[in-house]
Symmetry: C2
């Protein structure tokens, strides 16, 4: 099937999916959970093929781990689907209701965006998670997974698609793309696809962003900072920096650069060096850092680099504002933390750092939809419109205005025969 | 000054403007209102230069009217600024507050988007309106007006910029671009500009959308429909269709196509023809329409055309679903109305028509921020993300997450030593 035909079918399906009630969508989610349960053995077998082949092709260890989709992972994604069923239907919620005039009532009602294109690298759990989020929010989905997981993705997508269709979803609601060339085609389908969500490495996401006119929800880089202010508790600062850097180095919300106020640097830098080196973190630093502790010299390039590794760049700054300027210049607008006992400094930092997540006295690693209590996570966005920071189901929704009248025409208001009342209404839209 | 330098200056200014309190912004708005008042004579004189030159260049009558910026218009924009001052500060509102754990509190707080690029054709009032909306919402603005209004725009922008700066706004908060080539440059500044709002003809807006990677808020086409269902009050349907088509033909929310159910067409079409022809509307229709009333034949092209003129295309459909499919295929997702006495038909139409505004028994012309009671209007959006339909101040805002802790690290939660509470909090964020 051509990608254009697939995208058109998704667009058609999205119309009736948008109007499907919560019961139909929850019924389909339940059917999908059951189908995954009863196909578990087959899924594990398909995954073993992917693992065997990738093993022969010498896929790196961490990627092999991400590719693994065993009984335990299957149970986890099924639990995820069941907790999604328990959430209220996010579609059809009245967000605003105004009487424009007697018998002329305006409602702003949440609705799905339409068709979501999802592109992800190795992890097959992402396929299950994001397609169930799309379904819960009434969106049609086009999926493309990494080729190393092709057998696992094929059986997962087919199991989910068939179960959903059995439960009454419109044909075309979920479709799997097969080749890398298909992705290129999909990125051109701005007529039918409303939003692209890419999950994977930063080069991969940047490639998507640079090659489509369709809006992209996500982040390319996660260049996160910890700034240790002039007045800070040394022990607390060391703990937060070590956690931000090392709790899981390969993720977007791990810290890459440490900024330290010059007045606390002589005391703080030796302490943090010791703690980081015990975790095998290699350090690079600016000239002033090098005057206090023994580190390799950082280059301009270091401030722009997302290491995703046991490596940290350090810069000594003369003021809070220098730290803020550095972050706004070199950061990626993802997550940045200040460690300080001074409240006005914390407030200024959180107001002036232009990032989706600004933290005070805690680890950058908290920047995550599950930790924020969203239950489900679509991804983390560094966009400045629509959705920013960790994105839950909300990010898959937009709204439409429904205006119910009784024959009103604008001429009566334009010519002064009638006047708008603009009175707030209570209650949900219903006919 | 190079456009890149202007955009960088705007980006820098946007950081402190984002943190400016409501009093500073309102103080600047008041100073701008006073400055416009005291410069009124100069502004009118500059506008007269534009009008004289455009008259010599034979600018069309309606455009001359849009270009006119007299004492009355000045009073109107000043009134607009004063009503904006009366609105609460939209920045810094807590949208969500959750205790993640004891002493670890998450707040989602509204904030400006950053730098807005605004491009508008002839009307100088748009310059004042949108720059004051940007200021109220804490955004920096780069403006480009139509060359026919260059003298008026220059004095307006300089008056506003100088008044704002006098009132304490950061330099670079408002800048006026001068040439058409500047616009091309501006569209490339995705590093510094977060959102483009184009106001003008549909060709103009489409050009902008096709030539920038910066998100665009607005609409290219307004191909709006009225659908007269099988069961409809003929008199009411005629009134609504006539108002939708003729109350103001040159605007995006005027109807361009009339769809009529075949069972009511023999009675309805002659009645609406008579009413429309008395307003000098010329009609084109499908074959079935032509069997009932005397009209020129419509071509495929007619269904895709925004006439913005006294012209209407008519199609007879066999069912509600055929009407919905036609609208979703040929419409522009702007505003579409059903006229019916049948509630389930109205509900189905409003659920399945994928447009920002779906109306029942009222004119498409109500689709407007002022009529919706928003007070101020940024524009009307056919986007499927961020903001849809008429957009008020909200469309110029996004949010950031502020997380205030007391030394928490993720390792404690990942390793089971601590548990998240995820308890809703009441109250605004404050340090």
């Amino acid at each position: 099937m051509k990608i254009r035909d697939m995208a058109e079918a998704a667009s058609k399906a999205s119309i009736s999916l948008a109007a499907a009630g919560g019961e139909i969508k929850n019924g389909a989610l339940a059917e999908i959970a059951r189908a995954l349960e009863s196909s578990a053995a087959e899924i594990v077998r398909a995954n073993k093929e992917d693992l065997d082949r990738s093993g022969r092709e010498n896929l790196a260890g961490p990627l092999m781990k991400r590719l693994t989709f065993d009984e335990k992972k299957i149970r986890e994604v099924i639990d995820g689907i069941r907790s999604l069923i328990a959430l209220p239907d996010p579609v059809g919620k009245t967000q605003l209701a105004t009487e424009l005039d007697k018998g002329l009532e305006l409602y702003r009602v949440s609705c799905p965006i339409g068709v979501i294109g999802i592109i992800f690298e190795s992890r097959p759990d992402a396929l299950v998670q994001i397609s169930s989020l799309c379904l819960k929010s009434g969106n049609a989905a086009l999926l493309k997974g990494g080729s190393e997981a092709r057998e696992t993705n094929a059986i997962l997508a087919e199991t989910i698609r068939a179960a959903g269709t059995r439960a009454g979803l419109p044909g075309g609601w979920l479709q799997l793309l097969e080749t890398r060339a298909d992705v290129g085609e999909m990125l051109k389908m701005d007529e039918y696809i409303d939003l692209i969500i890419p999950r994977g490495s930063n080069e991969f996401v940047r490639h998507i962003m640079d090659n489509s006119r369709i809006p992209v929800l996500g982040h390319a880089d996660g260049i996160c900072h910890c700034y240790v202010d002039a007045r800070a508790d040394i022990g607390l600062a060391v703990d937060v920096v070590v956690d931000s850097k090392t709790q899981y180095v390969a993720v977007c919300n791990a810290a890459e650069t440490l900024l330290v106020h010059s007045s606390i640097a002589p005391e703080f830098l030796p302490a943090v060096k010791k703690a980081l080196e015990s975790k095998k973190v290699s350090l690079v630093g600016c000239e002033k850092t090098g005057e206090i502790i023994d580190v390799a010299a950082a280059s301009e390039e270091d401030w722009k680099t997302e290491y995703l590794d046991y490596r940290l760049s350090i810069k000594v700054v003369e003021s809070l504002d220098e730290a803020i300027d550095h972050i706004n210049r070199y950061g990626s607008g993802h997550t940045d933390a200040i460690i300080t006992t001074d409240k006005p400094s914390a407030a200024r930092f959180m107001d002036l750092v232009d990032s989706g997540n600004v933290f005070w006295n805690c680890s950058t690693r908290f920047s995550d939809g599950f930790r924020y209590g969203f239950g489900a996570e679509v991804g983390i966005s560094t966009n400045k419109i629509h959705a920013r920071g960790p994105v839950g189901l909300d990010g898959l929704l937009i709204y439409k205005y429904k205006l119910a009248g009784s024959g009103q025409i604008v001429a009566d208001y334009a010519e002064g025969r009638k006047k708008f009342t603009h009175r707030p209404l209570s209650g949900e839209f219903k006919i």
